[in-house]
């Protein structure tokens, strides 16, 4: 399997503050990599750099073997993103939003694509609803539809199931598992939901203070740190840096 995401020693400084301190990692095709870390650990900054919204202070990012710095538009055509912190225009209907983004991503068979995603994500009945009037769970599925509108090869997920009830959360996780198997895409998942990460990811990166402090398979990390689940590993790593230096 080839690497769809290659991050090589990227750093991001805001003035004297080092938000990301030279991290490197790869995400293979058909792989979900979990990105874990407490608030302020550099996860969002890393995702921002992968999306081209932030310019790394140093280091290089390659998506599908293309250097982000030189091929921003080509890369953005095959990448997409979902986060609870960004929304679609509230006054437009769901279908209008999906139609607009289909145009922005130059989707060829728009109606077909919207129909496919509507069926998969169970939003068919919502297409003519005003986006701002949807529930959190409905908005989340619509945002996911927008994130998949361009059939991305790389999907960046920042807390994709935050504020969702367990049923909707489980639906989204199941959908992502099936979609990844079907399309062989790469997913980078930043999450605070440890059971979600354990279920979806075969490999995780633990970040703290802009550094990767540990990485590996969730089961291996649990065994390595002598804990019973990933949440305990997360708490251990987040609370005590000295143990791992």
């Amino acid at each position: 399997m080839k690497n769809l995401i290659e991050v090589k020693d990227i750093k991001k400084n805001y003035g004297k503050k080092e938000a990301v301190k030279g991290i490197s990692f790869n995400v293979k095709e058909n792989e979900i990599l979990g990105l874990l870390g407490p608030n302020g650990s550099g996860k969002t900054t890393t995702i921002g750099m992968l999306l081209g919204l932030l310019k790394p202070t140093s280091g290089q990012i390659f998506i599908n073997n293309l250097k982000l710095e030189d091929h921003r538009i080509e890369i953005l055509e095959i990448i997409n993103f979902i986060s609870p912190y960004i929304e679609l225009p509230k006054k437009l209907t769901v279908k209008q939003n999906l139609y607009v983004y289909s145009k922005l991503y130059k989707v060829k068979k728009i109606e077909e694509r919207i129909e496919y995603l509507s069926e998969k994500l169970r939003i068919g009945e919502l297409l003519n609803s005003i986006t701002g009037e949807l529930s959190s769970g409905q908005k989340n599925r619509v945002s996911l539809a927008k994130a998949l509108i361009n059939e991305p090869r790389v999907l960046l997920l920042d807390e994709p199931t935050a504020s969702l009830d367990p049923e909707v959360g489980d639906f989204v996780r199941t959908f992502l598992e099936e979609y990844m198997k079907e399309k062989k895409i790469s997913i980078l998942l930043a999450s605070h939901n440890m059971s979600e990460v354990t279920r979806l990811c075969k490999s995780v990166l633990m970040m703290r203070n802009g550094e990767i402090i540990d990485q590996g398979n969730p089961d291996d990390l649990i065994a390595k740190h002598g804990r019973t689940n990933l949440e305990e590993v997360f708490l251990k790593l987040s609370r005590s840096k000295s143990e791992f230096n």
Partner: protein, 263 residues
């Protein structure tokens, strides 16, 4: 440049406008109120002085021209601010759109927004006040074109500020036109200004546009030099605004404004 993407972004704003009656009302309401108000003021002066008796059309025409400039500039800023307010900003900037495509889509949408307000205002002036702005003839097109370019230029400058400094720059968006209005010599000749202000006025395209509008209406002559000067200054400021926008985009990528804008 992709027409599909430009059309896509235009649609995003077109849908918004057509879905919201208050937004349509807002587009029509202010120009209409402005024109009506100034029409009555013009009529008042016309009945009290001989000079203004000949100048009702001049004042009203300048009001319409100024309003078009105001609507274009504010309209452009509104399009940009809508993306911030709706927390859609990040979605837009992670779409594979070139900066030129974003600007072209916004510039086109801003023109349509301004025309939606302008057309009813022009249509109202004739039955209400017996005045037609069309008396400016073919040169009306050039004057509107100059105002449109300058309005868009101001819009791009403010949007550059929003990119660079984030939503906190929003208030500047509302005050730009009011700050420039005194130097624009919209309702009075440039000689009315103190000398130091005249120097500032002459480096703005506005003074040439409004001087020429008054010249055509009052003297029935055309001074091509005014139109030429307006276009030259416009070309300069427009180019500078585009350069500044690109610069602000790059600074925003370094500072992290783009990723924080939607939060």
């Amino acid at each position: 440049m992709s027409l599909t993407r430009i059309y896509g972004l235009f649609l995003r704003h077109f849908y918004l406008i057509t879905r919201s009656f208050p937004r349509i009302l807002d587009l029509v309401y202010w120009p209409t109120i402005q024109i009506t108000l100034w029409g009555f003021i013009s009529n008042f002066f016309a009945t009290h002085t001989t000079y203004y008796n000949n100048a009702v059309g001049v004042i009203l025409t300048c009001a319409i021209l100024y309003d078009f400039l105001f609507r274009t500039s504010i309209g452009f800023n509104m399009l940009f601010l809508e993306e911030i307010w709706s927390r859609n900003f990040t979605n837009l900037f992670i779409a594979p759109m070139k900066i030129g495509e974003i600007l072209t889509a916004l510039v086109t949408t801003a023109l349509i927004r301004s025309l939606i307000g302008l057309v009813p205002a022009i249509l109202l002036t004739s039955p209400l006040f017996g005045i037609s702005i069309l008396e400016l003839g073919i040169f009306l097109f050039f004057l509107f074109m100059s105002l449109y370019i300058f309005g868009i230029t101001l819009g791009i400058l403010v949007s550059s500020g929003l990119l660079r400094f984030g939503p906190s720059f929003e208030n500047i968006a509302w005050s730009t036109m009011f700050l420039l209005a005194p130097f624009g010599c919209i309702y009075y000749p440039v000689e009315t200004l103190p000398e130091i202000f005249q120097k500032i006025a002459y480096i703005l395209p506005l003074v040439y546009i409004f001087e020429e509008a008054r010249n055509i209406l009052m003297n029935q002559t055309v001074d091509i030099e005014n139109i030429y000067n307006a276009f030259i200054w416009n070309a300069l400021y427009f180019t500078l605004s585009i350069i500044l926008f690109y610069y602000s985009f790059n600074v925003a990528k370094k500072k992290g404004t783009l990723i924080n804008m939607g939060e």
